[in-house]
């Protein structure tokens, strides 16, 4: 462990590689986590199939790439397809569990996650796949740092998508309705908002966001039918750390998690890379608990 830290001290240029890799992948985490925050905040549904939506988006881009269409087209295609898919899932499953207790929705989405992973496995096989975007790779600092152009493109697209969602939530009628429902669903219904439609739209929007994140991940990373769970966990860590309705928080937590993971893998070894994710979740929860405890005492 200490040798690895010494490497970073002796050759600081490798910090740049770790930071960049972390930021690029963190941006896609933040995107998927924002979708989760939306569904969690508006509908109080904790979607355990979040990561599987991401992987589905990845397979869309990969599939297009295999059929002579540039995988970047996978981003818009995944958004449209996953929006429709999200709607179907809402109507068939989520609508039935939304007003039930917490465990019902957890179990339902967990079951959905298993089914989706197996369907992807049946359709595309269990191998690791990657969509080849075919952009050049830049070498910096005498080849010590490499930077694939597709990662820069993915980062820009992530930023644009996040911006589009924010504008949508602020400016459009539907965005306002979603925010109103999140604040108080009953009051929103009294005011004439069709909350069922708002829920359907929110869930579909989440699926679309996940699809876009997944399409980007398939180009900058690798996908596999059973990788969904690790993306779900990351989304939960980010949302738990940042809270709902806190977009800057989600972005910071997403980028931070990406960087922490890369540093964790470097310093502690690849076997501890995911320990960092779960470890952070634990720290955040303990800290939150501690904070709330203080708050409660102040109220008393």
């Amino acid at each position: 462990m200490f040798d690895n830290i010494m490497v970073l001290v002796a050759a600081p240029v490798f910090n740049i590689q770790l930071l960049l890799d972390g930021l690029f992948i963190g941006a896609t985490y933040a995107l998927a986590a924002y979708g989760l925050a939306l569904v969690w905040g508006v509908m109080n549904v904790k979607n355990l199939a979040q990561g599987d939506f991401v992987i589905m988006g990845g397979y869309i881009a990969w599939w297009l790439g295999n059929h002579g269409i540039h995988p970047l087209w996978g981003v818009p295609v995944a958004i449209v397809f996953m929006f429709g898919f999200g709607w179907v899932v809402y109507v068939t499953i989520i609508r039935r569990v939304i007003d039930k207790e917490l465990f019902t929705s957890l179990l339902a989405t967990f079951g959905l996650a298993i089914v989706l992973a197996q369907v992807l496995n049946l359709l595309f096989g269990p191998e690791v796949q990657t969509a080849n975007a075919g952009f050049p790779i830049l070498s910096l600092f005498d080849n010590a740092v490499t930077l694939a152009q597709i990662k820069i493109i993915a980062l820009i697209l992530c930023a644009l998508l996040a911006l589009a969602v924010v504008l949508f939530m602020k400016k459009s009628r539907m965005g306002q309705a979603i925010r109103a429902t999140a604040q108080d669903a009953r009051a929103a219904r009294v005011m004439g908002i069709d909350t069922d439609k708002v829920y359907a739209f929110t869930f579909s929007l989440n699926a679309a966001i996940c699809g876009a994140a997944g399409a980007l991940i398939s180009m900058i990373w690798v996908i596999q039918p059973f990788y969904g769970i690790s993306h779900s966990i990351r989304s939960f860590v980010i949302v738990t750390a940042a809270g709902f309705g806190n977009l800057p928080g989600v972005i910071m937590a997403g980028l931070g998690l990406g960087v922490m993971e890369n540093y964790g893998g470097f310093v502690l070894g690849a076997e501890f890379q995911q320990v960092v994710v779960v470890g952070l979740l634990l720290i955040v929860l303990v800290w939150r608990q501690f904070q709330q405890h203080k708050l409660r005492r102040a109220v008393i």
Binding site: N4, Q17, V222, G265, G269, A270, E271, Q273
Partner: protein, 356 residues
């Protein structure tokens, strides 16, 4: 393939009487529990006296205690875990090389190269990344033992979790530490992830050895990057083995392709399955009896040459006569480069990623 060939040649001569071979299969769905159940059924209900092993180390591990209980011999061709051969099983025989030998030959090759370049073998620096599962850790144990033999320095020893989809942090370390040899084993997933990220991060280690190259189809998916990668295999059609059934390794290769035209490359898994049948034919003839115990004793005395390689069982049941060979990816082709007496092509060193 093996059964057809033996029957075609007149069957097996046991004590002056000719017998034809016949295989009875059940589908174990690659589930160890199912393997054990179906094997009981084969032995108890179907009266099978000689067993061929299932596919994978996990199912073979489940099968071994069953054949041991009924004292029925099993010749297996697809279970390579070392743990199969340290439990004192007397009825399990494996024609293939065990997993700790998969990449050990890469260490020998690195030592050879170092000495050729006027360096000492103990100067070689090795970086390793293995998946955290029994098979890959067996491979790692073999690499460690051989590296220790040469006194080589392990500069990096990372273990990849089962669902790790990113090894860029590990590869960044590789870049910083500049090893002479990079060794990676993590089934098909590990091979695909490694090939992708090694290309993306322009890792220029002069020698890279990787398991599961064929399974992960890295030559089709990452053609330029993987040029020069070293991949271990149990068997290759260019090897100079020969026997009376198929003539030679290439004869077997041609026979399979003629019978099953959909095969462009004959996987070593097919070859070793055929070899297991040949081992039975040989042992049955030498035993001169259909008594499982006598056949077991004949099996343990096996010392034969096949198209698949020499077969001679250690007391633990693994085949110690056949070497693992290393193939290097050269312009999209898998060419045998080590051990040197079987090499069909010279080693390209240092490796160079090609442009395409």
């Amino acid at each position: 393939m093996g059964v057809d060939k033996v029957n075609e040649m007149g069957g097996v001569n046991v004590g002056g009487k000719k017998y034809k071979l016949e295989v009875k299969y059940y589908d174990d769905e690659s589930t160890p529990l199912r393997t054990a159940q179906l094997l009981e059924r084969l032995i108890n209900q179907d009266g099978v006296k000689f067993v061929l092993g299932p596919y994978s180390s996990a199912t073979t591990t489940a099968a071994a205690p069953v054949v041991e209980k009924y004292e029925i011999p099993m010749v297996e061709a697809e279970g390579a875990a070392r743990s199969l051969f340290n439990k004192g099983y007397k009825y399990t025989f494996a024609v293939l090389s065990t997993s700790e030998l998969y990449l050990a030959s890469a260490i020998g090759l690195a030592a050879e190269v170092a000495e050729k370049n006027g360096k000492k073998a103990s100067d070689v620096k090795i970086a390793m990344a293995f998946e955290n599962d029994p098979f890959s850790l067996d491979v790692r144990a073999g690499v460690l033992a051989d590296a220790e033999k040469y006194g080589m320095k392990i500069v990096l020893d990372d273990k990849m979790p089962r669902d790790l989809n990113d090894i860029s942090a590990t590869l960044t370390k590789v870049k910083a530490l500049k090893p002479d040899l990079l060794v990676i084993s993590g089934h098909n997933k590990g091979a695909a992830t490694a090939a992708r990220q090694i290309g993306e991060m322009k890792i220029d280690v002069p020698m890279i050895a990787l398991t599961h190259c064929e399974g992960a189809k890295i030559t089709t998916n990452f053609p330029g990057t993987v040029n020069g990668f070293l991949c271990p295999t149990q068997w290759a059609e260019t090897l100079t083995y020969s026997d009376k059934y198929f003539g030679s390794a290439s004869g077997y290769d041609k026979a399979v392709k003629a019978k099953f035209p959909s095969y462009k490359n004959v996987p070593y898994q097919t070859a070793q399955a055929t070899a297991a049948v040949l081992v039975y034919a040989d042992a049955l003839e030498r035993a001169g009896s259909l008594d499982p115990k006598k056949v077991r004793d004949a099996l343990s005395a096996t010392d034969m040459m096949t198209f698949y390689g020499p077969i001679k069982f250690a007391p633990e049941g693994n085949n110690t006569a056949k070497p693992m060979v290393l193939r290097q990816i050269q312009d999209g082709q898998y060419n045998v480069v080590a051990p040197s007496k079987y090499a069909s092509h010279p080693l390209q060193w240092p490796r160079k990623a090609s442009a395409n």
